[in-house]
Amino acid sequence: MDELIYKLKQEIIEALNLEDMTPEDIDENASLFGEGLGLDSIDALELIVLMEKNYGIKLQDPNQGKEIFKSVKVMAEFIQKNRTK
């Protein structure tokens, strides 16, 4: 799981152009939106694309994102459970 969390952090930094940020800067339990990483609604859509592109997970209901994108750790757990590639 630690390996997936680290890889996911790298993918998030690259996909969302989080310049000057390293995986070590991201707290795996911190909120991705609002107070945490401060991501916005377009970033949320990019995360949905990232999950489909890299892990073969297609979210049927975009509202699922609210739960899944709570933190990197929650996202990694969801990916580990549902990935098809």
Partner: protein, 184 residues
């Protein structure tokens, strides 16, 4: 109508009111260098396409040359820019995400920049300008045509000044900004 300040940026230089900035980078790296050395408090910069980055740093240099910034909301300033290539680079970038049917992942972040007037909105949002914003695509960098359009904008009684001028980009290595603040 009178021009108060002017900023010129091309792929290897930036000039503010006739004075060249000391810069070492070229192309999009030049824009990042300007951002880091003269702006630096707007991380959204890194998510922008090249046209927006160009417009953002050019407008920041322009507004810094005007004096201390207060970011108070105002309705008397318009943002009216012109170019030839619309949002070509962003369009191409987005197309690359949907070109291959076997690898079809439309990028929302790329899609949001597929209109040239996004940059006028970015400048207005950053500075809390609630006046007119327009992006006009014309055949070539035609000062007379631009001036005609800007003079029409001044017929609106609210508009007292305009951030206007040329802002064109075809890719990360080819762009030009020649923008100014014009007072009524």
């Amino acid at each position: 109508m009178m021009i108060q300040h002017r900023v010129y940026i091309s792929t290897d230089k930036a000039i503010v009111d006739g004075k060249a900035l000391e810069l070492t980078e070229k192309g999009s790296a030049l824009l990042t260098q300007i951002y880091r050395s003269h702006i630096g408090d707007y991380p959204k910069f890194f998510k922008m396409d090249t046209l927006c980055k160009l417009g953002f740093v050019a407008s920041e240099l322009l507004l810094n040359s005007e004096g201390e910034r207060n970011f108070e909301p105002r309705e008397d300033r318009a943002v009216i820019l012109f170019n030839r290539n619309a949002s070509l680079q962003a369009d191409t970038n987005y197309q690359s995400t949907i070109q291959d049917s076997e690898n079809f992942f439309p990028s929302p972040a790329a899609f949001v920049y597929t209109l040239p007037n996004i940059v006028t909105g970015e400048i207005a949002i950053r500075n809390k300008y609630y006046g007119e914003t327009s992006f006009i695509v014309i055949e070539e960098n035609d000062e007379k045509l631009m001036e005609q359009n800007l003079s029409v904008a001044f017929q609106d009684t609210d508009t007292q000044s305009i951030i206007g001028g040329w802002l064109d980009c075809t890719d990360e290595e080819h762009f030009e900004a020649n923008i100014f603040i014009m007072e009524k």
